[in-house]
């Protein structure tokens, strides 16, 4: 990455840490996470083991929201404020601008997630802290995947209001209604959809991938089968491939969208 890209990366990071919405949701996440930690600490041993899964549930709801809020104005916001042209008048490629925006905002997100999990760790005992520590990596991947998705929505939108609406819809669809949709599909198809396809559909959603991955991390690889759910996470290589796909494809698509535009600003 060149000088302009590096400067933009830090600029993005600095600016995002001043965004009040990002700060509010991050503080909320930290408060709720520390609440989960405190609850686990004071509970019986069996209940205490639920602190990790509880935090996974919390993170799978809030981290995508923080990520989408962080990224929805990345491109379209600049265009609407007439600063995209100014940015692209610097000696930098359009793809590099997209990449720098993604990385700068990813850094801000990493701090928000770190604060949340860190707050939970501070209020947990040692054993729980180790469990929570293992959460950081996958939670960051979840956040980065939604950040990349938000960036793509931002690059594809013509107005910031549209992008804001689209990320809310994306959040509801992927975080809340996706699993219900799959269940509905199973009912409607009357079992015509194979278990393998159900697994693929679950893993195709980063929120689903994250939940399955973390549930398996907490309760072993057969936890879903034990619960009567046919979905099963692929091996480590498969999981990495899925995460890399979720991180790179939307960013590349955003760069391509911006690069092929005849009139960019």
């Amino acid at each position: 990455m060149g000088r302009v890209g590096r400067a933009l990366l830090w600029h993005e990071f600095r600016e995002r840490t001043r965004d009040r919405w990002v700060v509010v949701i991050s503080v909320l996440f930290a408060l709720l996470a520390s609440g989960v930690g405190l609850y686990g600490r004071g509970a019986e041993a069996d209940v205490a083991k639920l602190a990790g899964p509880s935090l996974v549930t919390l993170a799978s709801l809030l981290v995508p929201l923080v990520a989408l809020v962080l990224s929805q104005d990345a491109i379209v916001g600049e265009r609407e404020r007439n600063t995209l042209g100014l940015l692209l008048s610097l000696p930098v490629s359009r793809t590099e601008v997209v990449l720098a925006k993604f990385l700068g905002r990813a850094l801000a997100l990493a701090i928000a997630v770190g604060l949340g999990v860190g707050a939970a760790m501070l209020s947990s005992d040692h054993e729980q802290s180790q469990t929570l520590l293992a959460l950081i990596g996958p939670t960051l991947l979840l956040g980065f995947a939604f950040l990349a998705l938000g960036l793509l929505i931002s690059a594809a939108s013509r107005r910031q209001a549209t992008a804001a609406s689209m990320v809310v819809i994306a959040w509801f669809l992927l975080v809340f209604f996706y699993d219900l949709g799959i269940l509905g599909l199973l009912v409607v198809s009357d079992g015509a959809i194979s278990d393998a396809w159900v697994s693929r559909l679950v893993m195709a959603n980063p929120a689903g991938l994250y939940r399955v991955q973390m549930m398996q991390a907490f309760a072993g690889p057969d936890v879903l089968a034990d619960l009567g759910v046919a979905a099963r996470a692929p091996g480590a290589a498969g999981i990495w491939a899925l995460w890399i796909g979720w991180l790179t494809l939307p960013v590349l698509a955003s760069g391509a969208l911006l690069a092929r535009r005849k009139i960019v600003a």
Partner: protein, 304 residues
């Protein structure tokens, strides 16, 4: 950089021609102004020069050599977009710091630039608290930060108060005297006229006229308006003077109260002075009004 030329710039967007075979150029120490009604293609032409719009056709030269709109070119250009709205969470100083980092300009340039655009006292304030004019001046600061060879200003007078205008005139004058180039688009013709060297009039994506304001005045052929103040409107010699003038010129001669108004071509002004001199004591004062740049502009656009 001593000069640049953009020739045959053509841009179509959604089957509509936005720019059609437009050619412009700049020379060291000179300021070029693009004028035209909304939709004339001024901003699009500027964006072509910044690599923000991909033309269907354009030949581009720097110092007489073929050149591309690449990063090397962008390093030499400073840009003030129209109605720019910077992030309100940052201070003016922080914003300039980002652009200084991006352009490889030392930190010491920031207070200097803030001073040049009259924002030294507001540098540590968040942009949220800036007035429209202050934001525009900050944008100007961003544009001049790296002392670019070519300063591109899109509607720079918009939102500027008198203090802001003074800053703008100072910057343009500095750029011209330092042998650099300025390219600006504006609606405020009269305001900018004295600060620029060449005017390029665009209409519907085509160049209607190019030249200095004097050249455009001549080519427009608009009459000068002469006002003769009469010593005594009841004096019969005043009526005679009016008759003589009416016979002498094809232009308009009209009595307006205690004055005579005559519209004559620029070349006839001297002759008119001689004529009225033949009526001593009748005329007490003469006022010559050159056609305004706005009227020339309207004439050019109307004829195009």
């Amino acid at each position: 950089m001593k000069s640049f030329q953009a020739r045959g710039v053509s841009v179509t967007f959604r089957r509509t021609s936005v720019l059609d075979d437009v050619s412009i150029g700049g020379e060291a120490g000179r300021a070029l102004m693009l004028v035209g009604p909304n939709g004339a293609g001024k901003s699009t032409l500027i964006k072509v020069l910044l690599g923000l719009v991909r033309p269907d056709f354009a030949r581009f030269e720097v110092d007489g050599q073929p050149h591309a709109i690449d990063n090397q070119w962008k390093r030499r250009v400073g840009y003030l977009p129209e109605a720019v709205a910077f992030s309100e969470n940052l201070t003016g100083r922080q914003l300039l710091q980002f652009f200084a980092n991006a352009r490889g300009v030392g930190r010491e340039a920031i207070p200097r630039v803030l001073e040049r655009v009259g924002l030294e006292a507001a540098g540590r304030q968040r942009i949220r608290g800036y007035s429209r004019g202050m934001r525009q001046r900050l944008g100007l600061g961003v544009a001049i930060l790296s002392s670019p060879d070519l300063l591109i200003l899109d509607e720079p007078t918009a939102g500027l108060d008198q203090e802001g205008l003074e800053v703008l005139w100072r910057v343009i004058a500095e750029w011209r005297s330092a042998g650099r180039m300025v390219l600006t688009s504006t609606h405020d013709l009269a305001l900018m006229e004295r600060r620029i060297d060449t005017i390029c009039v665009l209409k519907k994506g085509r160049v209607c006229a190019t030249g200095t304001s004097e050249e455009l005045r001549r080519s427009a052929g608009l009459p000068h308006r002469i006002w003769l103040a009469l010593a005594d409107p009841a004096d019969p010699r005043a009526a005679t003077l009016c008759e003589v003038l009416s016979r002498w010129t094809d232009g308009t001669v009209e009595r307006v109260g205690d004055r005579i108004r005559i519209d004559v071509p620029a070349d006839d002004v001297l002759e008119l002075m001689k004529l009225q001199g033949g009526f001593p004591g009748v005329v007490t004062g003469v006022r010559v009004e050159e056609p305004t740049l706005d009227s020339i502009y309207a004439q050019i656009l109307g004829a195009a």
